[in-house]
């Protein structure tokens, strides 16, 4: 069990990591997501021991390993730029972690080939690093990180240098491989789809601090605050008034009943674009007019004007809407989130 407690790190006047505390689920993938400069990679480096925290502790199975140098932690790390050794061939790279542990040559070769097989690149064993593609380099980096059977696997945006199609393919393979290995993995990414599809748990980091952590669905459907709501996926956020007792919610352009959250008289209300549906006028919460419609492949995105507010709505109905077409909208009650304002 890997746990970090109150990790702090400053670079000059900048507080890069603030009170980073988390218990990582055993054998599962935890993704760390955040905007650029939010401290994701620093959090990973502190956990790996590649950077020294100003304060706080890293615990592995209850033992404090904060002062332990990275080479003695036994963690596997996959870097964003892969950092493959250019003076070694593929098998030489994968064997490196075993070689520095003074594993015998035959055993070293066997385990390296096994890792290459898991990464589905055993045929590249004798190729030079410069002779393989970016996707293959990513697999080599992964094979190198798992070859010495690390207790924890840390991955710093490993797919970010690849094109969208290859990234999607490798994401699926990564999921399969990590499920096979059942190794506790911390995966840093700025790609929301990657974070949600890979992680059984997700941490949202902003300005060095954890905004929210939990299963991806929970973070998406029940964001803890305005930052998570607006950062994770698309959202409509409105200033609203929550009515005591009645369970009503007054939006600038609609009054809605039976909303589960209560946050005092003034609040922010958030509705995802896919948490609204086009309905008949009799079932609608509000009416609006279409400003524009965009075909997105598997759905249609409508930009609506409701009073003086603008609303984004995603619908499976793919027929195009002309501008100024009146539409009637119902909001799914269970998918409205509110916070105090």
């Amino acid at each position: 069990m890997l746990e970090v407690r109150s990790l702090n790190k400053t670079f000059g006047a900048r507080h890069a990591i603030k009170d980073f505390t988390h218990r990582f689920a055993d054998g599962k993938i935890t993704t760390i997501l955040g905007p650029s400069g939010s401290g994701k990679s620093t959090a990973l480096a502190l956990t790996a021991g590649l950077k020294e925290p100003d304060s706080g502790t890293v615990l592995l199975n209850g033992h404090d390993i904060t002062a332990l140098p990275p080479e003695r932690r036994g963690f596997g790390v996959v870097f964003q730029n892969y950092s493959l050794f250019p003076h070694l061939d593929v098998i030489g790279n994968v064997e490196f972690g075993l070689r520095v542990r003074r594993i015998g040559k035959a055993e070293r070769r066997r385990r390296a080939l096994e890792a290459l097989k898991l990464a589905r690149i055993e045929e590249l064993a004798n190729r030079h690093i410069t002779q393989i593609s970016g996707g293959e380099q990513q697999r080599v980096a992964l094979a190198r990180a798992i070859a010495f059977s690390p207790s924890i696997l840390l991955m710093d945006e490993p797919l970010s240098a690849l094109d969208a199609k290859l990234r999607e393919e490798l994401r699926e393979e990564l999921l399969r491989l990590l499920a096979t290995l059942a190794i506790t993995t911390i995966y840093v990414t700025h790609d929301q789809i990657e974070a949600m599809s890979l992680g059984s748990e997700m941490i949202i980091l902003n300005d060095g601090a954890i905004e929210q952590s939990g299963p991806p669905a929970q973070l998406y459907l029940r964001p803890a605050n305005l930052f998570v709501a607006t950062f994770l996926g698309d959202s409509n956020v409105f200033p609203a008034e929550c009515e005591d007792g009645s369970g009503g919610l007054r939006l600038p352009f609609a009054a809605i009943n039976a909303v589960p959250n209560r946050n005092g008289p003034k609040c922010w209300a958030m509705v995802r674009p896919d948490a609204m549906e086009l309905v008949e006028p009799s079932d609608a919460d509000f009416s609006a007019v279409v400003e524009s419609s965009t075909f997105m492949g598997n759905h249609l995105r409508l930009r609506l004007r409701a009073g003086s507010d603008r609303v984004i709505l995603d619908t499976q109905n793919r027929r195009p809407f002309a501008s100024d077409t009146p539409v009637y909208v119902r909001i799914k009650r269970e998918e409205i989130s509110t916070w105090p304002r």
Binding site: L50, P69, P70, V77, F79, L84, V100
Partner: protein, 277 residues
């Protein structure tokens, strides 16, 4: 059409200037080569006439025989000195450069500046300084080696620190560290193999400079330990043009391959040398 004509005229002019420059630059070398290989006995008896004997052919290698006979010791001494210089530079500069680059402190930066300082001191001042400071060991061959090291070590250090400061080496070290490599393993298995190119470039540079170094060698050399550039000077002042040409040809035959190799493999290093660290 007019523009195309102007372009072709510019190209011809550029080619012409290049060729003129090439001829101006290579003419002295060609004259030296001619002097070294042509039998010039028809000019009259030279002091080294014995070297050519009764050879009446147009081309001759006799002048080289004379140079090897008289200055062979200097040649061997200079070659040995240059190789020793390369070895010492590698042994001292690689760990020193690594320590300086990886120790981010004011002291390490000052040490680096100090190591580069000899480059800004004129050779003659350096030689006088060495003679004054170590008069007790004057005449020892290793004092000349020390003089050469003072000039070559900073260059080797500069090439290596530039390479070590590249983010690539630092990144690879972090990767090795994450894979469990100790400091010693990182240095041996990652840093040195990835510095190989810079070490080769630095070594060629050191060899060429040590081989051609004159100021320190001339002032510190003794009859027993004369370097080849000092011997070359002796041929210019005391021998015929043919003998000094042969000696110069030998000098060039050693240094030109090293410089060509530098040009061939060392482009990146020279570019980096010009960049601030």
């Amino acid at each position: 059409m007019r523009r195309r004509r102007a372009v072709s005229f510019a190209m011809i002019a550029a080619h012409a200037v290049t060729w003129v420059l090439l001829i101006v630059i290579t003419a002295p070398v060609l004259v030296v080569l001619a002097g070294a290989f042509f039998n010039t006995s028809f000019l009259g008896l030279a002091s080294e006439q014995w070297a050519t004997g009764n050879d009446r052919t147009f081309l001759t290698s006799s002048w080289f025989g004379y140079v090897f006979h008289i200055y062979g010791g200097s040649l061997a001494f200079s070659l040995g000195l240059a190789f020793l210089c390369v070895g010492a530079c590698i042994l001292i500069s690689v760990p020193a450069a690594y320590a300086i680059v990886r120790t981010h402190s004011l002291r390490s930066r000052m040490l680096e500046e100090l190591a580069l300082l000899p480059l800004s001191v004129p050779g003659i001042a350096m030689s006088i300084g060495l003679i004054q400071a170590y008069s007790i060991v004057r005449g020892q061959w290793w004092l000349i080696l020390c003089g050469h090291l003072l000039y070559t070590m900073p260059l080797m250090m500069r090439v290596l620190t530039s390479a070590l400061r590249s983010s690539e080496t630092a990144r690879l070290e972090v990767a090795a560290e994450s894979l469990g490599a100790s400091w010693r393993q990182r240095f041996l298995f990652v840093v040195i193999p990835n510095l190989r190119h810079s070490i080769i470039v630095g070594s060629l540079l050191v060899f060429a400079i040590s081989w051609g170094e004159f100021n320190v060698s001339f002032l510190l050399n003794t009859p027993l330990h004369q370097t080849f550039p000092a011997a070359l000077y002796a041929t210019y002042t005391g021998n015929s043009f043919a003998v000094s040409s042969a000696a110069t040809t030998i000098f060039l035959a050693v240094v030109v391959p090293a410089l060509l190799a530098l040009q061939w493999i060392g482009g990146g290093e020279f570019t980096r040398l010009e960049q601030p660290a």
